[in-house]
Amino acid sequence: MTRVRNFRPAALDSHASLRLQVSWNTEIFFETRVWQFLIFLPRWLMTGTGRERICTDEDQTNLEELLQRDFGGYTSSTTDILGVGHRGAAFEMNIHRQITVLASRWRGTKKYFKALRRELEESSGEETILILRQELVVT
């Protein structure tokens, strides 16, 4: 697919809330359960002769600044994940940047990441942006 437009952080404004952030309550001795989201941002489409840009440096910066604003931090991973698969009859290979964020377990958090996925798919032109969620226990 061809890149459509720049990523627009403003598309997430209506989903922003302080409740998205993990509450690190040190007064409670019970364990804290949080959600960890892994966002696989497609950066390059590998072609026979080289690579084509999907999401730009600007897109990645704006996404990371958005996560910084709404979750208080993120990790942009050293590993560029290679994704390989079929698109119709064609064989396709993408390089992704993995961005990790911790969030509160809340219905609004799920809605936020659904909206984020939709915005990333619409802007990048990719059929599917992979965002994974797993539960972590902070002891």
Partner: protein
């Protein structure tokens, strides 16, 4: 050693993100326009002529000694 750097200009931040991604460097967002990176990454950004300010970490202490 980890270093906290701050970009005053958005263009420098974008260039840094691109260069660090190319170099497969890990970094962490700690504040607006501010990331935690390795000392190696700081050298890399300096070599690229990217403008930033060191606001914490070993590199700052080195700058102060100089």
């Amino acid at each position: 050693m980890a270093v906290i750097v701050e970009f005053e200009r958005h263009e420098d931040h974008v260039r840094a993100v691109g260069r660090l991604s190319e170099a497969e460097e890990t970094y962490h967002g700690v504040d607006k326009g501010t990331i935690l990176v390795s000392n190696t990454a700081v050298q890399l950004l300096r070599a690229e002529g990217i403008r930033f300010r060191v606001i914490g970490g070993e590199a700052r202490r080195e700058e102060e000694r100089e």
